[in-house]
């Protein structure tokens, strides 16, 4: 594994409600890690903290490369990404949504178009690239979220319940995408789900969460 993530003793609470307590884990190897646990056990908060879009109240998030610790700056943030459960599509075409991550990195024109098309083909949305993203179904929206994340070639991809509000057909497509990523071994996937069966099917490692910590 290139990028290595060590989470140690993180705690987080919102308005006095403790969501995470003394949560530790080290992601050492490439692969698919699945967080399971009931709703409200802290999976989403854990992912948001790992993806550096939220800070823990206490504890440490250490990213390292070849033994050297990395600073949690924009450069590091751009090597990871998180697909939120609501995705957050922009009111523009599907292809422009996918190109966003490239545009903010200054990648445009042919290179961007090539990568956007490749990502859209991967999630089977190539035929909808000119459509407004707000008109997609919820399953397609999740796939768009994955394409938008993959186009920036993250070293670690965090997925927060990508199949929670998605029909069986789209769940099947998304699971196949994750299995393909598992085979390709280019991206480490850390995914939250409350579906134990799905976890067993996809994971290299299953991490069970309960009451804000790994059990």
């Amino acid at each position: 594994m290139g990028l290595r993530l060590a989470v140690s003793g993180i705690a987080k609470s919102y308005n006095g409600d403790t969501v995470l307590r003394d949560c530790s884990f080290t992601f050492k190897e490439h692969g698919v890690y699945i967080l399971t646990g009931p709703n409200g056990c802290g999976k989403s908060t854990f992912l948001r903290i790992c993806a550096l879009i939220e800070t823990p109240d206490s504890g440490k998030i250490d990213y390292s490369l070849d033994g050297g610790l990395l600073r949690p700056d924009l450069g590091l943030r751009r090597r990871l990404t998180l697909v939120l459960p609501k995705v957050g599509v922009f009111n523009t075409s599907v292809s422009r949504n996918v190109a966003y991550g490239l545009a903010i990195r200054g990648i445009r024109s042919h290179e961007s178009e090539r990568r956007v098309n490749k990502a859209l083909e991967f999630v089977q949305l190539g035929h909808k690239k000119r459509q407004n993203a707000l008109t997609l179904s919820s399953g397609e929206t999740q796939r768009l979220g994955i394409a938008r994340a993959l186009v920036i070639e993250p070293e670690i991809l965090f997925l927060d319940e990508p199949t929670a509000s998605v029909d069986q057909k789209n769940t099947g497509i998304i699971e196949d995408l994750i299995l393909q990523m598992k085979k390709d071994k280019r991206t480490t996937v850390v995914m939250a789900t409350h579906d134990r069966e799905q976890a067993e099917k996809l994971a290299d490692s299953v991490l069970a969460m309960k009451d804000g910590k790994f059990s």
């Binding site: 943030r77 990404t81 998180l82 939120l84 609501k86 922009f90 009111n91 903010i104």
Partner: protein
């Protein structure tokens, strides 16, 4: 009844013959309102975005003040500006009273709170997940703000159009600070008021028709833009 009919037919004749005086008045009206609006947008849009994105003390009070100022009576704005710009006023040395610049300033003051308050509403109406999504994709803070503004674009445009509607139809403030001087500070609304007073209805009606046509055109464009924003690809 016949005088209304006569006024309309003569007004249409003025419009179709592109009367020079009429054209001059329309041109000045558009110039004053467009520059006034531009100033209001340059100042009001960033303020609206700032209020929508940042959290700070006294923000609530500032928003309440802006919302109140959206309904500022134009004559009151005209009065205060007159006191500031008149020869004995603190800004009298600028010699701006009874110039089109003073009219631009008056219209900027009237449009500014509308642009700022409606931009603020549009920005806070954007789903917070948009900012989070752009952040997860590696956006800087500025890029996150730009993504939120882009999502609010249709609401922001509505605010700008509403502000234009207010200034182009406004008469009280520009009459006081502009003085309605023929060929110099006479615009559509002040000309309508004056010509009506003089009983010279055909020019007043012609200007009235044009004013309503401009308003209709702007609102039609707004409608198309908003419809596109609801469903289309942009």
């Amino acid at each position: 009844m016949s005088s209304i009919y006569d006024s309309f037919s003569q007004a249409l004749s003025l419009i179709f013959h592109l009367d020079a005086e009429l054209l001059g008045i329309i041109f000045l009206s558009m110039k004053v309102s467009c520059i006034g609006l531009l100033v209001a947008v340059v100042l009001g849009l960033p303020l609206g975005v700032f209020l929508g994105i940042k959290k700070f003390r006294l923000k609530g009070i500032l928003i309440t003040v802006l919302n109140t100022f959206m309904g500022l009576p134009p004559v009151v704005v005209g009065l205060f500006l007159y006191l500031l710009l008149s020869r004995s006023g603190p800004l009298g040395f600028l010699s701006l009273l009874y110039t089109s610049t003073a009219m631009v300033v008056a219209q900027s003051i009237l449009a500014f709170p509308i642009v700022a308050a409606l931009t603020h509403s549009a920005v806070i109406g954007v789903d917070p997940v948009i900012g989070q999504a752009s952040s997860t994709l590696g956006a800087t803070r500025l890029q996150v703000s730009l993504a939120v503004i882009r999502e609010a674009r249709f609401g922001i445009v509505s605010g700008i159009v509403a502000a234009f509607g207010r200034v182009v139809a406004e008469v009280g403030a520009i009459l006081i600070v502009g003085g309605n001087i023929a060929g110099y500070t006479r615009v559509m609304t002040t000309a309508i008021a004056l010509e009506t007073d003089k009983g010279n209805f055909e020019l007043a009606v012609a200007l009235g028709i044009i004013l309503i046509a401009i308003s209709l055109l702007i609102n039609s464009v707004l409608h198309i833009v908003q419809k596109k924003g609801m469903v289309g690809v942009s």
